[in-house]
């Protein structure tokens, strides 16, 4: 009879277990009457065990008729199916509180409904309730943190975006202003060139003819006077000399203002002539590779290239101590390549990084203003090379097969 002894001991033990459990336990029979209602249930529902026992569970919790709670109990009793009911989906179905007296804080519930088979005729159902309020609070806190984090991440990315947009705007402004300045510089150069050639024309036409007329007259007077008054003759000779000098000077000034070479002979010959003269004076060996098609480039482009050549050659003469200078001019359908290279002393790093000098700056300015590229390559001991690339506007290029442009 050992087993019976055990039964006797286990009965009260089970009761004690039910009292101490930190879980709500309800047992109902097939007619949904309460067979067990443990201490935890009494504590949190405010319904004493004695009140609850033998009453239909839906009388104790009238709000639950027709809900999933009832359906799940029926399923457990009839089909032996277990069910779980979460507080979140079922909105904490049982009226259970931390303190039922004030009904303030309804417990967050996790409910399990389990079939219990005693015999094939007698079916019961255990309803087990746990308080998951603490877990629920933890998760709510987590959610709040996540929301905060999300918000601040969003704010941050918005800020980054604004900053980027602002940067782009500044970039655009800088580019616009630079383009405007380049345009202005080009305009100023064009105006200066135009004024210079206007002045040159006036000097030539007006001053030139006055000076020439004056010299003819003085020359005539001197011849007429003969040796009659030697003192006057001396003076007249001095006037004649001065007039000649003035005429020479006028010619030099005009040449400086509007390179006669360029207007008279075109770019290729003007370059040949100017470089040849400089090579003679400085004792350079001269290498020329100039594309003949460049003879009839648009005036402003010819002038820009000629000015670059003048400055580059002058610099080579002044600083390079070179023995050889090379000019290369190459014409493609849509762009021009131009190089002036010397084999002289080259420039120090310092000299190259001091862009305050006007010669090099002026060359760069002329080229950049016409949408080209300017580069100064210089290695100490290995010489200096000025490299220019200029785009040709469509139609202004001199196509290899095109007939020579009409001269004006």
């Amino acid at each position: 009879m050992e087993t019976q002894e055990h039964m006797v001991e286990i009965g009260p033990l089970c009761e004690q277990v039910l009292v101490t459990l930190n879980l709500g336990v309800i047992v109902v029979d097939q007619s949904l009457r309460v067979l067990e209602w443990n201490d935890w249930m009494s504590r949190h529902s405010g319904i004493a065990r004695d009140t609850a026992l033998h009453r239909p569970v839906l009388e104790l919790f009238p709000g639950l008729s027709g809900t999933r709670f009832e359906a799940a109990i029926q399923q457990a009793l009839l089909l032996h199916q277990p069910a779980i009911l979460t507080g979140s989906l079922n909105r904490n179905p049982l009226p259970l509180y931390a303190n039922p007296a004030n009904k303030h804080d309804r417990l967050h519930q996790a409910i399990q409904i389990l079939p219990l088979r005693h015999s094939s005729e007698q079916h019961f159902c255990v309803i087990q309730v746990s308080d998951v309020s603490a877990a629920f609070e933890r998760e709510a806190a987590l959610r709040r943190q996540a929301t905060l984090l999300n918000d601040s991440l969003q704010a941050q990315s918005r800020l980054m975006q604004e900053l980027e947009q602002h940067n782009d705007l500044l970039d655009l402004q800088v580019r616009e202003r630079t383009a405007q300045l380049e345009e202005l510089a080009r305009h100023l150069q064009d105006v200066t060139e135009a004024e210079k050639s206007q002045l040159a024309r006036e000097l030539h036409d007006e001053l030139g003819s006055i000076l020439t007329a004056a010299r003819i007259d003085v020359s005539w007077s001197a011849r007429k006077l003969g040796d009659s008054v030697p003192e006057i003759q001396d003076k007249l000779q001095r006037v004649l000399n001065n007039l000649s000098e003035a005429i020479q000077m006028k010619r030099r000034i005009i040449d400086g203002m509007r390179p006669t070479l360029l207007t008279q002979f075109g770019l290729v010959e003007a370059l040949e002539f100017a470089a040849g003269e400089m090579a003679d004076v400085n004792g350079w060996q001269l290498g020329l590779d100039l594309d003949a098609k460049a003879q009839h480039l648009p005036e402003d482009i010819s002038l820009a290239l000629f000015r670059v050549a003048q400055e580059a050659l002058t610099n080579a003469a002044k600083y390079a101590q070179a023995t050889r200078v090379d000019l290369l001019l190459q014409l493609d359908p849509d762009e021009i390549w131009f190089t002036v290279a010397d084999n002289g002393v080259g420039m120090t790093e310092e000299a190259r990084n001091t862009p305050r000098t006007h010669g090099i700056l002026g060359m760069r300015q002329r080229i950049v203003a016409r949408g080209g590229d300017f580069e100064l390559v210089s290695v100490p001991g290995k010489g200096t090379r000025v490299e220019v690339r200029l785009p040709l506007a469509a139609g202004s290029g001199v196509a290899p097969t095109a007939t020579p442009a009409p001269e004006h």
Binding site: T67, R68, A71, Q75, L79, H80, Q81, P82, A83, I84, L85, T86, S88, L89, N90, A110, Q112, L114, P115, S120, A135, F136, E139, L142, R143, A146, T147, N150
Partner: protein
């Protein structure tokens, strides 16, 4: 061994499962206060390995809820939904606005309850067909790839899987998944006999 259902058996199963789904859908609808629709468009039989592949193999992350059925007929009933979809679904049901990057405890519990309702309906259909004494376990939630999930307690390659395709919709939201009944061959043979008997009975009445 031949594991093919006749057309009649297949149609009968689809019909009885859909009746069960109607009840589960009604239960879910009252729970979430939205119209929930559930249907089983197809029932197929295959080996376990094949089923794992059909469900996406190791390349697809899924959420699963399993309940174990024991008795004259034994099977693991596994509900499988794509992980991402099931998350979206449960968030819709819970009305949560914060999209956490992981499945929270509450979401996991809610998913398990939804799975419990659907699986109970399927299991109810089967136990009703088979008429006998069964014990059914509580639902267990798992995340992983399909091969992991289909790996039951027993590692028997010969296991037969009855795979139900399941379509689930809430509001304008659609999600399709599967319910797999993983059974051993012996259970399977008894199962087919029972279906046959059920069909005979239904035709006589």
């Amino acid at each position: 061994m031949n594991i093919v259902l006749t057309e009649l058996q297949k149609e009968t199963l689809e019909e009885v499962f859909n009746i069960g789904m109607g009840r589960a859908a009604a239960a879910l609808s009252t729970l979430v206060n939205e119209e929930v629709k559930l249907s089983i468009p197809s029932v197929r039989l295959m080996r376990r390995k094949e089923a794992a592949l059909v469900l996406g193999g190791t390349s697809r992350r899924v959420c699963s809820i399993t309940q174990v059925l024991r008795g004259e007929f034994g099977a693991d009933a596994i509900l499988i939904f794509p992980e991402e979809k099931s998350l979206q679904l449960v968030r819709l049901m819970l009305g949560e606005s914060v999209d956490l990057t992981f499945v929270s405890e509450i979401e996991r519990e809610a998913l398990t309850e939804v799975g419990n309702i659907i699986l109970n309906a399927c299991i109810g259909t089967i136990t009703n067909l088979l008429e006998g004494e069964f014990s059914i376990s509580l639902p267990v939630f798992k995340q992983g790839d399909c091969v992991e999930i289909m790996q039951g307690a027993t590692d028997e390659q010969e296991q037969v899987v009855m795979l139900l395709h399941i379509d689930f919709s809430v509001e304008k939201y659609e999600i399709s998944g599967h319910v797999a009944f993983v059974q051993d061959v012996r259970s399977y043979q008894g199962f087919v006999e029972r279906i046959e008997r059920f069909i005979q009975k239904a035709m006589r009445s």
